[in-house]
Symmetry: C2
Subunit: 363 residues, 2 copies
Amino acid sequence: MAEFDPTSHPHRRLNPLTNEYILVSPHRAKRPWLGQTEVLQPTNLPEYDPACYLCPGNTRSGGQANETFDHTFTFENDFAAVLPPPAPIAPIAPHPLLETEPVHGGCDVLIFHPRHDLTLSRLSLADIERIIEEWITIYHKRSSQEGIKYVQIFENKGAMMGCSNPHPHGQVWSLSAIPTLPATEFANLEKYAQSTVAPSNAPKGPQGRPCMLCEYAHVETRFAEDQGRVVFKNEHWVAVVPWWATWPFEILLLPYKRHISAISDLTAVEKTAFAEVLSQITIRYDNLFSCLFAYSMGIHQRPTASSDELAHLHLHFSPPLLRSATVRKFLVGFELMAEAQRDLTAEQAAARLRALDSKHFLS
Amino acid sequence: MAEFDPTSHPHRRLNPLTNEYILVSPHRAKRPWLGQTEVLQPTNLPEYDPACYLCPGNTRSGGQANETFDHTFTFENDFAAVLPPPAPIAPIAPHPLLETEPVHGGCDVLIFHPRHDLTLSRLSLADIERIIEEWITIYHKRSSQEGIKYVQIFENKGAMMGCSNPHPHGQVWSLSAIPTLPATEFANLEKYAQSTVAPSNAPKGPQGRPCMLCEYAHVETRFAEDQGRVVFKNEHWVAVVPWWATWPFEILLLPYKRHISAISDLTAVEKTAFAEVLSQITIRYDNLFSCLFAYSMGIHQRPTASSDELAHLHLHFSPPLLRSATVRKFLVGFELMAEAQRDLTAEQAAARLRALDSKHFLS
Ligand SMILES: O=P(O)(O)O[C@H]1O[C@H](CO)[C@@H](O)[C@H](O)[C@H]1O
Ligand SMILES: O=P(O)(O)O[C@H]1O[C@H](CO)[C@@H](O)[C@H](O)[C@H]1O
């Protein structure tokens, strides 16, 4: 029997955050691609676009005008997915299989920078630090609103990821309930903390409890520089293509030196290091296929500033491109009906991202 | 406080098959769409395309030639995601968080019809019955192979869903493990069977145990014809936009007259009724926006012909289009990081599909 070789033998890996398996079929990367190709995003946008509803001073579709701003600017989404309280009372379910739960909250749009033509990957570290500060401000503000149980910070980048405007911006949806995926992650982090795991030198969670993500980051940072799944590392943060990655060039970004539950707990140096690693990830993404790389990014952390859920701050980057600037991975068919499937190993993806230039291809 | 109105108040619904919530934000459908639009699929393809690797007699990229066939034709995928045994032995995990499980199996491609220009929606009922028979044949064949624990029949239709060839075809991936999503569904069906639910007149599972899907279908078919979530119903099958639908026009299709675990258990009349409902769903999908409607379809059933898992045969249709033939729903950002979100209620979607013509717009 052949010895196991992850780059040629199909296998499954477990995502301990969701308790879901991923089917890895690395030999599949060899098949020819005859399917849909994506439209390249233009790299020569104007610095200001009079038709853009996110440019400074312009009017949005809701009728309101943006301030003229120098750094970041936050406003309430004109088409929010959740609305402010009071929410109506839950109706009586006509059957136990038909239950409804009213939900309330608020949706913010955070413009990253006045310049229409820039992206996170092309902002200065100082500008990225300002975005981090703004995330912390929104997290605090929404956390303290009545009934808010969860604050989700995220960014959709690129038309391929449903983003309708290239002007650099992110969103924050705050809800009166903890959504499905973070709730699953919290449950699995809690389960890990309760299990008897062999002690390691990794940092521990509150009251010395084992933290799955502290342990995971500890394991990943032990591998040699030119091996393993680390894409970029600095004094406080590490970016890896996780063992259980679903998207071809998925990245998990987390602080690894101490247990940190939320962005509001970051020290000044940790914030500066955070800005650096955000810059490095997004630059390498753009450099991979010399394009403005599409992704969805989300921050997972303590649900609100005052919650006591066991959480370890981390960011997920889910980018769809697989082969080139115009050929993506489709998570369809088998993936929607059975289980996630990928065409290269996490180690292969990490090696490619690691080898890229740390300077942006457009600079 | 306002009375709860599902078509204007944001709310969450629970999917009891996966135990996941869906955020419903029906007021969001009003926002203007400025994002990516999709390319329309041509409706005037030739009946035979010499360059198509699925047309009768043509040569595939693997070098083999298709037979000349009159109805269906099945062959092994030239770029299979899983390979036949022997699979290598699982390596020792370097850490408990880095576990690997080798997997083996086989991948089949099933061409639905010799004609290059047709789709399920435009095939005769007799031709659809032949596809059902072929699914049963493959299910039996793969079920009896050494170590196979699960057989997933599915179809990706449309370039938007990663389908690289419009020639009507589906796939079957058979694995030595039960994948994540069906495993979750089996666990939730089992949990339901063990819970003490109020007895209803719904059919029961084996040994008189409660079957969640028998009960669910029973509830849905009790609503009046012009209400609720039923899209189409015949003597044996019902197609609903499920209470917990994620995709805008998602459909759950299942037999409701008796408990049926797998396609191999269908009687002759149940197969004929199955062909009719498959035809009706796909015709209505195409008629919705007068286009060849993209979707992923998957059959969930007893994992293999001989397994004793508690299962009730059902099909999921996951179509991305939301507003028109070229504007889709993106399940990105919040959806990838937190929880599925939809912009119209299941009832609104069902009413629209129900009202459509039962004759194909191209006929
Ligand atoms: O096998 P195909 O049709 O070439 O490929 C398609 O279906 C597969 C199974 O759902 C997916 O993994 C691929 O991403 C998709 O492009
Ligand atoms: O709010 P936007 O950017 O217009 O919309 C985008 O992000 C939302 C949140 O992830 C998604 O629900 C939408 O499908 C997507 O198009």
